[in-house]
C-alpha cells in the first residue's frame, strides 16, 4: 500500500503541490487527470524523489518517511520501490533493449548478469519485442522504445509503476500498442499510477480517477461516477473540454 500525506512542493515562489493526500491499494490502477501545469507530473516525480518534496509524509509498504528528513539510503529505497515510465522514454542510449531492462537488476539488485538477462528476455517476450533484444534505442520506433521503457519498469518489481504521460510524445500510430501493453499490466493487477490525457484509457482501465487542479486533488472516484456525474464545477469544466463527444450533464439539473 502507498500513502501520501500532505505532500507539498514549491518551485521558487509558486506552490506546485499544495498538500496532496492519496492512498493507493495494492493492485489498484489510478489515473490522474487535469489541466496542464497543475502538478500531476510533479506529484509522480516527488513519489520517486526525482524532485525533492518540501513537506509531507510518504509511506510505501513498511517504509514511512517524513520527506524532509529522508536519508540518502531511504531515498534510494523509495526509488527502488517505485518504478518510473518517462514521457520521453529516457532509455539508456548506450545500452540495448535487453540491457536497458537488465541494467537495474544487475546494478541495483546485484543479480548475476546471466540471471538478469534471462529475466529481461522473459520481459521482452511479454512486451512483444523478443526480436529486438539486441537493438539500441536509436533504431527503435517511439512505440517500441516506450514498451522497453515499461519493460524496464516491470523488471524493477516495484510496488507501483508511475507513468508520466507515457503516450504524449508518441506519434499517433504508436499510441495503441503502448496503451494495450498498459492494459495488459492492469489486467495482471500491477499497481499503477498513471498521468495521462488519454481519457478512454482512464474510463476503461482505471479503478479510480483523480482530478487535480492548482496543485490539489479536487475530486476522485471510479471513472463511471467521475466521468458521468462530476460533483465539482472545475471537474465538469475540464471534462467538457476533453470529452467533447460526451457532454457532461450536471447532476444538479
Amino acid at each position: 500500500m502507498i500513502k501520501v500525506d500532505k505532500l507539498v512542493k514549491r518551485f521558487a515562489d509558486s506552490v506546485v503541490l499544495d498538500g496532496i493526500d492519496l492512498e493507493i491499494q495494492q493492485g489498484e490502477i489510478i489515473v490522474v487527470i487535469g489541466p496542464s501545469g497543475t502538478g500531476k507530473s510533479t506529484l509522480l516525480r516527488c513519489l520517486n524523489f526525482l524532485e525533492q518534496p518540501d513537506a509531507g509524509q510518504l509511506t510505501i509498504g513498511d517504509l514511512s518517511v517524513d520527506v524532509t528528513r529522508a536519508t540518502r539510503r531511504q531515498i534510494l529505497e523509495i526509488r527502488r520501490r517505485t518504478a518510473f515510465v518517462f514521457q520521453n522514454y529516457a532509455l539508456f542510449a548506450n545500452k540495448t533493449a535487453l540491457e536497458n531492462i537488465a541494467e537495474g537488476l544487475i546494478v541495483v539488485n546485484r543479480w548475476p548478469e546471466a540471471k538478469a538477462h534471462e529475466r529481461a528476455r522473459q520481459i521482452l517476450e511479454r512486451i512483444g519485442l523478443k526480436d529486438k533484444a539486441n537493438a539500441y534505442p536509436a533504431s527503435l520506433s517511439g512505440g517500441q522504445q516506450q514498451r522497453v521503457g515499461i519493460g524496464r519498469a516491470m523488471a524493477a518489481q516495484a510496488e507501483v509503476i508511475l507513468f508520466d504521460e507515457p503516450t504524449s510524445s508518441l506519434d499517433p500510430e504508436w499510441v495503441d500498442e503502448v496503451l494495450s501493453l498498459m492494459k495488459q499490466l492492469a489486467e495482471e493487477r500491477q499497481t499503477m499510477l498513471v498521468v495521462t490525457h488519454e481519457m478512454s484509457f482512464a474510463r476503461d482501465v482505471a479503478d479510480r480517477v483523480v482530478f487535480m487542479e492548482g496543485g490539489r486533488i479536487v475530486e476522485q472516484g471510479p471513472p463511471s461516477e467521475l466521468f458521468r456525474a462530476p460533483k465539482d464545477p472545475r471537474t465538469r469544466d475540464f471534462l467538457r473540454k476533453v470529452l467533447p463527444e460526451a457532454p457532461v450533464e450536471s447532476p444538479l439539473f
Binding site: R79, T82, N94, G104, V107, V108
Partner: protein, 245 residues
C-alpha cells in the same frame, strides 16, 4: 649534383624511425597521465567541489594561458633551481624558525625526459579537462533521471550511464589532443632530449642536408598522425554503433 639527395634520405629514414619509440613513448605516457588528471579535474568542475573547483580553474587558466615551451623550461630549469636554492635557508613562519634541509639541493633533479612528460601532462590535461567536462554536461539529463529512477547511486550512474556516453562525445577531441601531443614532444628537443626532432637536428647539422633531414622527419610525423587518424575513425564508428538508426 642533384638538388635532392634521395640516397641520404633513404639512409636517414631507418635512423629516424629508431627514435620513434621515444617520441611515441613520451606522448603515450603524457596522454595516459593527462587522461587520469583531466578526468579528476573535470569531475571537480562538474560537481563544483568547494576550494578544489577554484584551484582547478586557476590550474586550467595557467596551463592554457602560457606557452608549453615556457612551462617545459620552468619544470626542467626553473623549479629544480628554486628548490635547490632553498636548501639550508632558514625561514620564519608564525614566529617559528626552521632551517630547510640540505637534501633539497639534489631532491628535484629530474631528467629532461621526465620534465618533458610532466610538462606535456599538465599542459594537455588543462585543455582535456574542459572537453571532458563539456562531454559530461552534454549527456542528456533524462539519462541521469532514468538511472536515478531505478535506484542507482550517483557513482553507479556515472560509471554505467553518463561516463560511457560522455566518452563517445569526448573521443574526437581527445584524439585531436593526442595527435597534438605527439607533435608537441618535439619541444623536448629544447631541453636536450634526443627524440625524433633532436635526432633530425643532429643529423642535419652534421651532413648539411637540412631540407632532406627535416622533410624526412616531417613525413614520419605525418605518417604516424595519419595512422592515428585512421584508428580514430574506426574507434568513433564503433562508439557510434549504438546511435545508428
Amino acid at each position: 649534383m642533384s638538388i635532392l639527395n634521395v640516397d641520404y634520405m633513404l639512409g636517414l629514414f631507418p635512423i629516424l624511425v629508431s627514435y620513434l619509440p621515444l617520441t611515441l613513448g613520451m606522448a603515450a605516457a603524457g596522454m595516459v597521465m593527462a587522461l587520469i588528471l583531466s578526468c579528476c579535474l573535470a569531475v571537480i568542475r562538474v560537481l563544483r567541489l568547494p576550494i578544489l573547483n577554484g584551484l582547478t580553474k586557476l590550474f586550467i587558466s595557467f596551463f592554457r594561458g602560457t606557452p608549453l615551451l615556457v612551462q617545459l623550461f620552468l619544470f626542467y630549469y626553473g623549479f629544480p633551481k628554486l628548490i635547490a636554492d632553498m636548501a639550508g635557508v632558514s625561514v620564519t613562519i608564525l614566529g617559528h624558525t626552521t632551517v630547510l634541509p640540505m637534501w633539497l639541493e639534489n631532491a628535484t633533479e629530474i631528467s629532461a625526459i621526465t620534465a618533458a612528460i610532466i610538462g606535456l601532462t599538465l599542459h594537455f590535461s588543462a585543455y582535456m579537462a574542459e572537453s571532458i567536462r563539456a562531454a559530461i554536461v552534454g549527456v542528456d539529463r533524462s539519462q541521469t533521471e532514468a538511472a536515478l529512477s531505478i535506484g542507482m547511486t550517483n557513482g553507479q550512474l556515472m560509471r554505467r550511464i553518463v561516463l560511457p556516453q560522455a566518452t563517445r562525445i569526448a573521443v574526437p577531441t581527445l584524439m585531436n589532443y593526442f595527435i597534438d601531443m605527439i607533435k608537441a614532444t618535439s619541444l623536448a628537443f629544447a631541453l636536450g632530449v634526443t627524440e625524433l626532432m633532436g635526432a633530425t637536428q643532429k643529423e642535419a647539422a652534421s651532413s648539411f642536408n637540412y631540407f632532406e633531414a627535416f622533410i624526412t622527419a616531417a613525413v614520419l610525423y605525418w605518417a604516424v598522425v595519419e595512422l592515428l587518424a585512421w584508428l580514430q575513425r574506426r574507434l568513433e564508428s564503433r562508439l557510434n554503433e549504438a546511435y545508428r538508426r
